[in-house]
C-alpha cells in the first residue's frame, strides 16, 4: 500500500524533559520520524517542552511549539493547527499518556484528528496489566501468576494467594516508577501503598516473582498488511529483578537454541497481532526459567521504546524512521533498506558482531540514594559498544562509561598482580554479587580474581554461566598477561586485544605506560580493523558508512 493521500498535516508529540527513566532516546526517535515525514511531503507540527532537543531545531519540522506537554496545551495546538493526524508512538510514555488523555476528553473526535501508528484500544491493551494478561491468556501465552488491586486490602489478599516474593507493578507510570519487590508482608504493605499512589489510576498488579530468571527482549515491527518482522533480539546479562534500563544487555540473544528463540519469536508476533498494534514498533519482554525453560511473557510496549534506539544502532535498522513511514500507509516491502539500497526493509537484520549496552549510574551525585538495583530504573544514561566477541564489546562498553575504568578493572584490589583474599574481602564480594548494584559487573571480575568458581558466582547472581565464563576468560587473560609481563608474545597481546583490553588497561596490568604498550602493539603489527554495520552480515553491498573498530585480522 502506498502513502496515504488523505493526510496532509501530522502532529507529533515529543517526549519533554529528560528524566531518569526517559532520556534522549525519544529525541532520537522523534527526530527521525519528523525528518522522514517532512521529506515525504507531510506538514509536520511538533510539540515538545524541551528546547534542548534536536527535534526542536527549526529545520526539522514545519512548525514547532515549545510548550508544556499537557492535554490542555496540546488541545489548544490542535484547535489552532487542525492537524489531520496525531502520531503518538515516538515520544515515549509522556506522549502516549497525553494522547490517552486527549482521546478520553474527546478532543481527537471533536477536531477529527486521526491517531496513526497506534490506536487507543491497542495502547490500553498493551499498557493495562489486566487487559494485557487477558489478551495473552487468550492466545495461549504463559504469564507469571498475578492479581490486580485498587486498594491495600485487595493487594494483601492477592499477595497471600501468590506467596512471596512478589512484584508490585503500578499501571501507567514512567520508567517503572514505584515498581518493587516484596519478600514479606511487612515490606509488601509499604511498597503496595507507594505503588497505588504512583499510578495515574491507582492500580497495581501483584505478581509472582520471576526474579533470577533469564530475561529477553524482542523488537518487533508490523505493517498494515500484517507483515511482522523482528528487528533485534536482546538478552539481559542481569537476570529478572533488575530493570532492563539498569541491566547490562546484549544483542543478539546468546544462550537460546533456535527452537527456543523461534518459540519466542512466534509468541511476539502473536502478541503484537492480538494487542492490535497495526503499524510500527513494539518491544516485547520475556522471562525464561534457567532450569526448566518455562517461558513467560512479561510485558509489551506498544510504541518505540528505550530499547528501540539501542536496537536501531545495534542493527543499522532505523526503527523510528520506518515506524513513521508505516504509520502513513507504506508497507515494509515497499520501503527500501537505506544501507543496502537493493533490499527491502521487510527483512530481519542479521548481525555479525556482538553489541553490549552498559547502564551509567551517578549515585555519587545522589548521596542519599540507595545504590542497589531493582525493578525501578535508576541509571541516568548508557553506553553501547560493538565488538566481534562479547568480551571485547563488554570491555569497550565499560570504558565508555567515563568512570575511570578502562575495561573490566578491579574495584577491590589495587594491584591485579597482588591479589590478597581474606574472609572480609570474600564477604564483601559475595554481598556485592548477591544484591544487584551499580558496580556488580566489576565485582564479577573481582570474584574470579579472588578465585571463586562459576557455580558459586552463579548461585549468588543467577547470571547465565555463558556470561560468567566469558568474564572468567577476561580475567584469565589478565592473569596470563601478568605472568608473562616480562616476555609478552605477539599471540598473547593479540588475544588481549581481541578480548577488548585497552592499551591503558594493559599498561596498568603490565606496569608500563599507555604509549609504551601502544608502541609495542604497533611493533607487533597489531592494529584495529574497522568493520561495517550493514544489517546483513556482509551478504549484500552496504552504502552507509557506519563502522566499529575491532581486532580481527
Amino acid at each position: 500500500m502506498p502513502k496515504r493521500k488523505d493526510i496532509k498535516k501530522i502532529l507529533i508529540i515529543g517526549s519533554g524533559p529528560i528524566v531518569i527513566g526517559q532520556a534522549c532516546e525519544f529525541d532520537y526517535s522523534g527526530t527521525q520520524a519528523c525528518k522522514v515525514l517532512k521529506q515525504d511531503g507531510f506538514k509536520v507540527i511538533l510539540v515538545n517542552s524541551n528546547p534542548a532537543t534536536i527535534m526542536t531545531d527549526p529545520e526539522i519540522c514545519d512548525k514547532t511549539y515549545i510548550e508544556p506537554i499537557t492535554a490542555e496545551m496540546v488541545e489548544k495546538i490542535i484547535a489552532k493547527e487542525r492537524p489531520d493526524a496525531l502520531l503518538p508512538t515516538l515520544g515515549g510514555q509522556t506522549a502516549l499518556n497525553t494522547t490517552m488523555q486527549l482521546a478520553k476528553k474527546g478532543v481527537l473526535k471533536k477536531y477529527k484528528v486521526e491517531m496513526i501508528g497506534a490506536d487507543i484500544k491497542a495502547i490500553k491493551k498493551g499498557e493495562d496489566r489486566q487487559l494485557f494478561k487477558a489478551a495473552m491468556k487468550k492466545i495461549g501465552l504463559d504469564l507469571p501468576k498475578s492479581g490486580q488491586a485498587y486498594t491495600l486490602e485487595q493487594a494483601v489478599k492477592v499477595a497471600k494467594k501468590i506467596g512471596f516474593p512478589v512484584i508490585i507493578r503500578p499501571s501507567f507510570t514512567l520508567g517503572g516508577t514505584g515498581g518493587s519487590i516484596a519478600n514479606n508482608m511487612e515490606e509488601f504493605k509499604v511498597l503496595a501503598k507507594r505503588g497505588l499512589e504512583s499510578s495515574m489510576v491507582s492500580e497495581i498488579l501483584v505478581e509472582e516473582s520471576v526474579t533470577g530468571w533469564k530475561e529477553f527482549e524482542l523488537e518487533v515491527m508490523r505493517d498494515l498488511k500484517d507483515n511482522v518482522v523482528v528487528i533485534c533480539t536482546i538478552e539481559n546479562l542481569d537476570p529478572m529483578g533488575v530493570h532492563t534500563g539498569d541491566s547490562i544487555t546484549v544483542a543478539p540473544i546468546q544462550t537460546l537454541t533456535d527452537k527456543e528463540y523461534q518459540k519466542m519469536r512466534d509468541a511476539s508476533i502473536a502478541c503484537i497481532r492480538e494487542i492490535g498494534v497495526s503499524t510500527g514498533g513494539s518491544n516485547i519482554q520475556f522471562a525464561v526459567h534457567p532450569e526448566t525453560g518455562r517461558m513467560v511473557i512479561i510485558e509489551m510496549n506498544p510504541r518505540v521504546s528505550r530499547s528501540s534506539a539501542l536496537a536501531s544502532k545495534a542493527t543499522g535498522f532505523p526503527i523510528a524512521k520506518i515506524a513513521a513511514k508505516l504509520a502513513v500507509g507504506y508497507t515494509l516491502d515497499e520501503i527500501p533498506n537505506d544501507i543496502t539500497r537493493e533490499t527491502p526493509a521487510c527483512f530481519e537484520p542479521a548481525i555479525d558482531y556482538c553489541v553490549v549496552k552498559v547502564p551509567r549510574f551517578t549515585f555519587e551525585k545522589f548521596a542519599s540514594a540507595d545504590p542497589t538495583l531493582g525493578v525501578s530504573m535508576k541509571s541516568v544514561g548508557e553506553a553501547m559498544s560493538i565488538g566481534r566477541t562479547f568480551k571485547e564489546a563488554l570491555q569497550k562498553g565499560l570504558r565508555s562509561l567515563e568512570i575511570r575504568k578502562f575495561g573490566l578493572e578491579s574495584v577491590v584490589f589495587n594491584d591485579p598482580a597482588d591479589i590478597k583474599v581474606d574472609t572480609a574481602v570474600l564477604a564483601k564480594i559475595e554481598q556485592k554479587l548477591k544484591i544487584p548494584n551499580a558496580e556488580r559487573i566489576f565485582y564479577l571480575g573481582d570474584a574470579f580474581r579472588a578465585g571463586l568458581d562459576i557455580e558459586k558466582i552463579y548461585s549468588l547472581t543467577k547470571i547465565d554461566r555463558w556470561f560468567l565464563y566469558n568474564i572468567k576468560e577476561i580475567i584469565g587473560c589478565e592473569k596470563e598477561l601478568i605472568k608473562n609481563k616480562q616476555n609478552l608474545s605477539p599471540e598473547l597481546l593479540k588475544k588481549a586485544k581481541e578480548y577488548g583490553f585497552s592499551d591503558r588497561q594493559l599498561a596498568r596490568i603490565l606496569s608500563s605506560s599507555e604509549s609504551k604498550v601502544c608502541a609495542l602493539r604497533k611493533s607487533m603489527n597489531l592494529t584495529p580493523d574497522f568493520k561495517l554495520v550493514d544489517t546483513c552480515a556482509a551478504e549484500f553491498m552496504a552504502h552507509t558508512p557506519y563502522f566499529y573498530s575491532t581486532y580481527d585480522k
Binding site: 543478539p252 546468546q254 533456535d258 512466534d266 525453560g293 516491502d333 533490499t343 566481534r388 551478504e539 580481527d552
Partner: protein, 358 residues
C-alpha cells in the same frame, strides 16, 4: 591445534581447530543465521560444503538431543570466529566441539569470518580445504584446485536412507517422502498434520512408490547440483499426473526440471534465516529459512502450465511455483524452518488440503 582453511584462489585463513582433526574438502559457503548451528550442521543438504557462520559466537548453547535434522552432522567442515568453550542451556547434553569430534567433523575457530564472507560474496562460492594435518599453504591450495567440487556431482546418493521406512504409524493422509537428504522437521510437521509418512530413498522407482498407494508425495531437500540427478527427474516426471506433489528446495529444483525447466548456479547462494519471500497470491511476506546454491530458471518453463507463486524480495529470484491444473507445487525455501522463522509453515497445510481434494 593449528588448522588452515585454504581456498582454490590461494586465499589462506589460519586458525585453531575444534572438533575432529584431519583434512576435508568442500565448497565454502556462509550462513547468516544467528542461531541454529545444530540444525545447520545436521542438515544433509550441506554435504560437500564447508560452512562458515557469519555470527561470530558459536557453540554457546551446546548441542542437545532434539534439535537434529538428521542422524548426524553432514557439513564437511565448520568455520567460526569464536567457539564457545562453555555450553550453557538447560537442554544441552554435549559441547559442539565434542559433538563434532565424535562425528569426525573438523571445526576451525579464530577466523575473520566477515573477511571470508566478503571474499565469498565477491568471488562466489569457492572450493576449499580444511586441514589440521597438512599446514603447508602451497600444497593445500594445489590440492583444493584439484578437488572435484560440487558441479555435476550426485551427492544425494551419499546421504539418503538405505531402504524405505515408516516414519510414524498413524495418520489420515498417506504420504510418501522421497528422501534426497531430508530434514526431519518436514516429517515432524506432516506428522502433526495427521499424515502417515513412509520415507523412501531417492532412486526408488515410480512403480514402487505408486504401489504404496500414497495420497501425496513430498520431494525433499538435498545436497549438491540438481542437474546431476536425471534418474530422480525421470521418476518424478512419471508421477506428475498421478498424485499431489509438494517439493521443497532440491525437490523444487527436481520438479522444475520434470516440468522441462532448467536450473542455474547462484553466485554464492542463499544460506540464512532472514530472507523475505513474497507470496504473490496473497501479497504477504514470510521471513524464510533458506539453503540453496542453485535456482530454477523460471523463464525456461512453460508459462501456460506453470505459475510463479513466490519471489525473493532481496534479489528477485524465483522461490516457488505451481502447476495451473495439476495439484503440484513447490518452494525453493524451507517452510519447515529449523533453523529459522516458521512464517511459511502454512504451506504444509496447503499440501494436506490438496491431498484432501484429490
Amino acid at each position: 591445534m593449528n588448522a588452515i582453511l585454504a581456498l582454490e584462489d590461494g586465499t589462506i585463513f589460519k586458525g585453531s581447530s575444534f572438533g575432529a582433526s584431519g583434512e576435508r574438502y568442500g565448497e565454502v559457503v556462509f550462513n547468516t543465521s544467528m542461531s541454529g548451528y545444530q540444525e545447520i550442521i545436521t542438515d544433509p543438504s550441506y554435504r560437500g560444503q564447508i560452512v562458515t557462520m557469519t555470527y561470530p559466537l558459536i557453540g554457546n548453547y551446546g548441542v542437545n538431543l532434539e534439535d537434529v535434522e538428521s542422524c548426524k552432522p553432514f557439513v564437511e567442515g565448520f568455520v567460526v570466529r569464536e567457539y564457545s568453550k562453555i555450553a550453557s542451556n538447560w537442554r544441552s547434553r554435549d559441547s559442539l566441539g565434542d559433538y563434532l569430534a565424535k562425528n569426525n567433523i573438523l571445526g576451525i575457530e579464530g577466523i575473520d569470518t566477515r573477511e571470508l564472507t566478503l571474499h565469498i560474496r565477491q568471488k562466489g562460492a569457492l572450493k576449499a580445504v580444511l586441514s589440521t594435518e597438512d599446514l603447508n599453504e602451497k600444497s593445500l591450495v594445489k590440492k583444493t584446485k584439484e578437488s572435484p567440487g560440487l558441479v555435476g556431482i550426485d551427492l544425494v546418493k551419499e546421504v539418503v536412507c538405505k531402504k524405505p521406512y515408516a516414519w510414524n504409524k498413524k495418520g489420515k493422509y498417506k504420504v510418501v517422502a522421497i528422501d534426497c537428504g531430508i530434514k526431519l522437521n518436514m516429517l515432524r510437521i506432516l506428522e502433526s498434520k495427521n499424515c502417515k509418512i513412509t520415507v523412501v530413498p531417492a532412486g526408488t522407482s515410480s512403480r514402487d512408490i505408486l504401489e504404496m498407494e500414497p495420497d501425496g508425495l513430498l520431494l525433499s531437500n538435498g545436497p549438491g547440483d540438481p542437474a546431476a540427478l536425471p534418474y530422480l527427474v525421470n521418476t518424478v516426471r512419471e508421477l506428475l499426473e498421478k498424485l499431489p506433489i509438494f517439493g521443497i528446495c532440491l525437490g523444487h529444483q527436481i520438479l522444475g526440471q520434470a516440468f522441462g525447466g532448467k536450473t542455474f548456479k547462484l553466485k554464492f547462494g542463499h544460506h540464512g534465516a532472514n530472507h523475505p519471500v513474497k507470496d504473490l497470491r496473497s501479497g504477504r511476506v514470510s521471513i524464510t529459512s533458506q539453503n540453496h546454491g542453485f535456482c530454477v530458471d523460471i523463464d525456461s518453463m512453460n508459462k501456460k502450465e506453470i505459475e510463479l507463486t513466490h519471489v525473493n524480495l532481496n534479489d528477485g529470484t524465483s522461490e516457488g511455483l505451481r502447476h495451473k491444473k495439476l495439484p503440484i507445487f513447490s518452494v525453493q525455501f524451507h517452510p519447515e524452518a529449523s533453523p529459522g522463522p516458521r512464517d511459511a509453515e502454512y504451506l504444509f497445510a496447503e499440501f494436506v488440503s490438496l491431498m484432501k481434494k484429490h
